[in-house]
């Protein structure tokens, strides 16, 4: 793989063959940090080194991991660790590669988190579609148990740890931490009212740390080699390395592990081989459908939390979907709205009703019957949703509208100008959606 990292920190399967096997992983420093922690470190010390490393959450929000762990109250037991492997953001496929090809590193990171906060049980919550990669993860867990790396009285101490894998049922919202907890508890996947935050009252109303798979995969190296080692990469505020899932109109869609703050969007595009169609790239979605779209003029921005902020976007879950000049942003926005309408959990009014309404308006656009008044209506409905939702999903849904309208209003105008005839391709799209919808309906009726 063409990547500037001569030795990966996370995607080590690209350097070491068969690292998914326990023996290979162990031969490459695997579980050394784990043994070190359990036999020679206190929980607070583990938290300390992770804090010093500046590691930030890779699930989207970028919250400092060590700080999060330090919020866990000492005197309430049991505590839990839940690992977020719901990975449902369109265009994200990094956690998938980690659990499939480097599962032990995920398990070791999880174990270290448990030890740090004094938890004895961890749940790895995987999206339902991960049935197959989860087999690798489960095998790795089984092997770790057999090797005495998980289970009772580890390394002869009185510390014990159990790790379970749980498959979700396929809902984007179950990636949101409190909805994930509800789902894990067997309830309908809807976010909880906060406060209380999971650190105080999470799974089964007990103190709970929730971290993304990639976040935790960084931890073994940090514990083994120290925070300074980790800070050799990245910037002051964005230390370390990060996986970029690249897809769309690029020649080499893949996961790319890069030090933060070193490369620009343009560099990333080039690493991925540039445009796959020969047409210039028009824009990129940096964090799937949840992020403000970035037009090509801003591709100079560096890949770190701070720089993305300066161009009005986010690093988020780092799912980079490049789109070439052939992509009509009205079509793209509709795709995203359709996604959010489908994934809205329904708990709160603006998201439930607003995404439904917005999709109706985009459908009207695609049918070729819309006028500029409908474009204004999209703007209005968008504004009507924003700032009022119960959880970020509803707010995410607005960015596809806000930023396509902001950067590509001309696409909307052209779309209207083309009228009915110009939208044949999109009519096909509509028909396909309706067909899918009918199939879904039939399946439901039969079930």
């Amino acid at each position: 793989m063409t990547t500037p990292m001569d030795k990966h920190v996370l995607l080590r399967d690209e350097d070491v063959q068969d690292i998914r096997e326990l023996a290979v992983y162990q031969a490459n420093e695997g579980y050394a940090g784990w043994k070190k922690a359990v036999t020679s470190m206190k929980g607070e010390e583990v938290i300390g080194v992770v804090k010093d490393s500046g590691l930030r959450g890779r699930g989207g929000a970028g919250f400092p991991a060590g700080l999060k762990w330090s919020f866990i109250p000492k005197d309430i037991n049991p505590k839990y660790v839940t690992v977020n492997c719901d990975e449902s953001e369109p265009g994200t496929f990094k956690d998938h590669q980690l659990i499939r090809n480097n599962p032990h590193q995920v398990i070791e990171g999880t174990a270290l988190c448990c030890y740090a906060i004094g938890a004895h049980v961890a749940y790895i919550y995987c999206r339902g579609e991960f049935k197959e990669p989860v087999q690798n993860l489960q095998k790795a867990i089984d092997d770790a148990y057999a090797a005495g790396l998980l289970g009772k009285n580890l390394f002869g101490t009185d510390y014990s740890l159990d790790v379970y894998v749980h498959l979700g049922a396929g809902a984007y919202i179950c990636g949101e931490e409190s909805a994930l907890i509800e789902s894990l508890e067997g309830k309908i996947g809807q976010p909880r009212l906060k406060p209380p935050f999971p650190a105080v009252s999470g799974l089964y109303n007990k103190p709970t740390v929730i971290n993304n798979v990639e976040t935790l995969a960084n931890v073994p190296g940090i514990v083994l080699n120290g925070s300074a080692w980790y800070r050799q990469w990245g910037t002051e505020k964005s230390p370390g390395v990060k996986i970029f899932s690249v897809s769309g109109h690029v020649k080499k869609p893949d996961n790319y592990e890069l030090p933060l703050g070193k490369y620009s969007i343009q560099d990333l595009l080039e690493m991925a081989g540039g445009s796959s169609t020969g047409l210039p790239i028009k824009a990129v979605l940096p964090a799937g459908s949840s992020s403000p779209i970035i037009p090509a003029v801003n591709f100079h921005a560096k890949l770190d939390y701070e720089s993305m902020g300066t161009i009005g976007s986010v690093l988020g879950s780092c799912s980079w979907i490049f789109m070439d000049e052939s992509v009509d942003m009205v079509w793209a926005a509709r795709k995203m709205i359709r996604f959010f309408k489908h994934e809205s959990c329904g708990k709160c009014t603006p998201c439930r009703e607003g995404t439904h309404w917005a999709l109706k308006l985009y459908d009207k656009m695609l049918s070729g019957e819309a006028t500029m008044a409908d474009v204004d209506m999209i703007t209005t409905v968008n504004k009507q949703i924003s700032g009022k939702c119960f959880c970020p999903l509803g707010e995410f849904s607005t960015s596809s509208m806000t930023f396509t309208l902001k950067h590509f209003r001309k696409d909307y105008e052209d779309f209207i100008a083309q009228g009915k005839g110009g939208s044949a391709a999109y009519r096909r799209e509509l028909e396909r959606d309706h067909h899918m919808h009918e199939l879904h309906g039939q399946a439901k009726a039969h079930s």
Partner: protein, 739 residues
């Protein structure tokens, strides 16, 4: 008094207890922040987003940690970047709230427009129309017109039976989860849930049979739209056509406050009860009713409702005039050696008093109660029942609730709700002693199981509870008479009273006995009639409001006075038609000794008359001179003659006071069709132990329980003369395993 917190809302200052939510604080000022999902009886969820307001807190300088003031010396407020839901935000010291800014107004309009995009707006045929929060709030805060394309509306099923009592209209549902939350948090029957997600999210029932709960009707009250309707009322009338009379449920010892909604029917020309609604009484039922209390009312217009006196001629009951009926009775009474009055425990205090007076004024009469077991221990409850100032809301941490030989949910459903909350939400220690599992067992900190017939073993063992009871702040003892005969039930009550006396809790507020009496006025009938055990036989037996034969003396002549043609009435020599509770005024005394008035809702059906009137006319036919003009006059006699009632008056019973939060229908703010309490909150009379000295009981008969099934357990929907006549309840009626 709880710590007070100072906040300003639209510039107006108010001090409210710590923990108060912004919406409730605003309500104190008469500022109605619109809400849909929030309900003061349920935990806030913040789902509907209707209550968005602008919230700020005093700005603090991070360096000095001091509150920042402007040049004029006013505290600078740091406003939150986004609007906040007032229903989930507790007030904090110095908080400022803005509810009238353009941004807030826009937010309300926006959320309402969203809600209406998927609402069918079929108000003209909707049962909630006229008392609907969605209608009201749309008028107050909504857009005049929707910009949503009507064709794009999503249509859903409109007549979904969740169970046979409650129907769901999926189009009208605004997904506020009040119904689910009521079932989960208050009733603890997890039978409703959301299914699917997003715009497809809908209410479904998880239970088989559907919506299996004794409390399902309450969801139709608190549903803020017409999505949930009852099989009993749906499409039967419009709210504005209904007259409302304040009443009291008489089907169990709780004495829930109700409102009888009636309408003049063009078809029959008569007035009918269209629905029974809760009436707010925070001391009794708060705003809840059980489904029996709500749906059992149909007997008041049963086909076999008695409307004419009847006498037996040639072996057949034939209609007669009152005078003829009284004549026959007077003749038989004169000829008889003895007269036995048997009084059922659902009739009003005034009726029971007058019947007892009439029986005794024959000079050869004796008065007993049916069922007899109720009379076996009511004097002990009168002595050691809960203290007069008892408030179930105050039972919580540090208190012990002991439940003995009772199934509270089956026998006093709304007490079940309240005791459960005391244990689950407020941390009272619940100890349950029973020979079988009941729903109460779910919340028990301590379960004391004994075998069927083995309650004496528990009694012997119960002394070990004394240290805990003595240490407790308050001790409530809820008990029942399952599988006991009258002497044993009495002994059990004596023993439990002794536990209260020994632990120092007799005669104290928030402590005492709570009896699971069979009906709504057991205590009252006992109090005002001073009954004796039934005699074995009598020349004339006069049964008033008696459901079954079991406790009747052998009779050579049987007079039955009742509301419908009961099995017993069909065997009588004379049948006297009594008015139902809905046709007259009166009062009941609940199981916790609260005396409450109820008021006339319907005109007299045919010749039917109140029991007291019938009793007095029989007495007069026999030469008595007394005469009452109405229930109030009888109550005045009760006050002077019945110990314990001396401090009461009809006026005092009818007094109300402000109830917080106000949830009556006159103030639709919180959304819900519970009625205001205009009929009075009632008065609990003082327990004897509160005023006199308490002496331990010499426990009489051994507390040997009947083994096996001699006395079936008392279930809420147990077959009976009244529930049998409610067609909506028909499929729920359970026949006892052994008669």
């Amino acid at each position: 008094m709880a710590d007070l917190v100072n906040v300003t809302i639209d510039g107006v200052a108010v001090a409210v207890p710590k923990g108060t939510l912004v919406v409730d604080a605003a309500k104190k000022l008469g500022n109605d922040i619109p809400v849909f999902c929030y309900h003061p009886k349920l935990k806030p969820v913040g789902m509907c987003r209707m209550c968005l307001v602008d919230v700020g807190t005093p700005k603090v300088d991070p360096a000095t940690k001091q509150v920042v003031k402007d040049d004029a010396g006013n505290v600078v407020i740091a406003w939150m970047p986004k609007l906040t839901t007032g229903c989930t935000t507790p007030v904090s010291e110095g908080m400022a709230v803005r509810t009238a800014t353009q941004q807030v107004k826009d937010a309300r309009e926006d959320v309402l427009e969203f809600l209406l995009t998927s609402h069918p707006l079929d108000c003209p045929v909707c049962d909630k129309g006229g008392e609907c929060p969605l209608q009201n709030l749309t008028l107050a805060h909504g857009p005049g017109q929707s910009r949503f394309d009507y064709e794009a509306k999503q249509h859903n099923d409109k007549h979904v039976p969740l169970g046979d009592l409650i129907f769901l209209d999926r189009e009208r549902c605004i997904q506020c989860a009040r119904c689910i939350r009521f079932q989960d948090d208050i009733a603890d029957d997890h039978v409703l849930q959301f299914f699917e997600r997003g715009r497809h999210m809908e209410i479904m029932t998880l239970s088989e049979p559907g919506f299996d709960s004794y409390f399902s009707g309450n969801t139709t009250d608190i549903c803020p739209v017409g999505a949930l309707t009852s099989a009993d009322f749906r499409f039967k009338a419009r709210p504005w056509e209904l007259d409302a009379a304040q009443s009291v449920c008489n089907h169990c010892p709780v004495g829930c406050n109700t409102t009888l909604n009636t309408r003049l029917e063009t078809k029959t020309g008569g007035r009918e009860i269209k629905r029974v609604m809760p009436r707010q009484n925070e001391q009794v039922n708060e705003i809840w009713l059980c489904d029996k209390g709500r749906f059992v009312h149909h007997y008041t217009r049963a086909d076999d409702k008695l409307t004419q006196p009847m006498v037996r001629r040639d072996g057949k009951l034939v209609e007669a005039t009152w005078d003829q009926a009284f004549g026959v009775i007077a003749e038989r009474v004169r000829a008889a050696e003895s007269v036995a009055g048997v009084i059922g425990d659902r009739i009003a205090n005034e009726d029971a008093f007058a019947v007892a007076r009439a029986v005794r004024s024959t000079g050869k009469g004796s008065v007993s109660m049916s069922p007899a077991i109720s009379a076996a221990y009511a004097d002990i409850v009168r002595a050691c029942g809960v203290g007069a100032a008892t408030d179930l809301k105050q039972i919580g941490k540090g208190d012990v609730i002991l439940v003995v030989n009772a199934d509270v949910e089956e026998q006093a459903p709304v007490w079940f709700l309240r005791l459960r909350q005391a244990a689950v939400d407020r941390g009272a220690k619940l100890v349950v002693a029973h020979h079988r599992s009941t729903k109460m067992h779910r919340y028990a900190a301590q379960i004391m199981r004994y075998e069927i017939g083995g309650i004496d073993a528990w009694v012997a063992d119960s002394a070990k509870l004394l240290p805990d009871l003595t240490a407790a702040r308050n001790v409530l003892i809820a008990f029942g008479d399952e599988k006991l005969d009258a002497p044993a039930a009495r002994s059990l009550a004596q023993h439990l009273a002794n536990l209260l006396i020994d632990s120092g809790h007799a005669g104290k507020a928030n402590s005492g006995l709570l009896a699971m009496y069979p009906h709504g006025n057991t205590q009252g009938v006992f109090d005002v009639t001073a009954p004796m055990p039934a005699v074995a036989e009598a020349g004339v037996v006069w049964a008033v409001g008696v459901g079954d034969r079991a406790d009747l003396p052998q009779a050579s002549f049987l007079v039955v006075q009742d509301v419908v043609m009961t099995e017993l009435a069909s065997q009588a020599d004379v049948v006297l038609p009594a008015s139902s509770f809905a046709e007259r005024d009166g009062s009941y005394t609940s199981g916790d000794r609260r005396v409450q008035r109820f008021y006339r809702a319907l005109p007299a059906a045919g010749q039917a008359r109140p029991d007291w009137w019938i009793a007095q006319e029989v007495a007069r036919k026999l030469g008595a001179e007394w005469r009452y003009e109405g229930a109030g006059q009888i109550f005045a006699d009760i006050v002077t003659q019945i110990p314990g009632y001396a401090s009461l008056s009809y006026e005092a019973l009818a007094k109300g006071e402000e109830q917080w939060p106000p949830m009556g229908r006159g103030d639709l703010y919180y959304g819900g069709t519970v009625y205001d309490n205009e009929g009075g909150l009632g008065v609990r009379y003082v327990a004897e132990a509160e005023v006199g000295t308490v002496v331990r009981y010499e426990v009489g008969a051994p507390i040997a329980a009947l083994s096996g099934l001699e006395r079936p357990e008392r279930m809420l929907y147990q077959d009976g003369e009244l529930i049998r006549r409610s067609h909506v309840m028909a499929s729920h009626v359970v026949k006892p395993a052994v008669a």
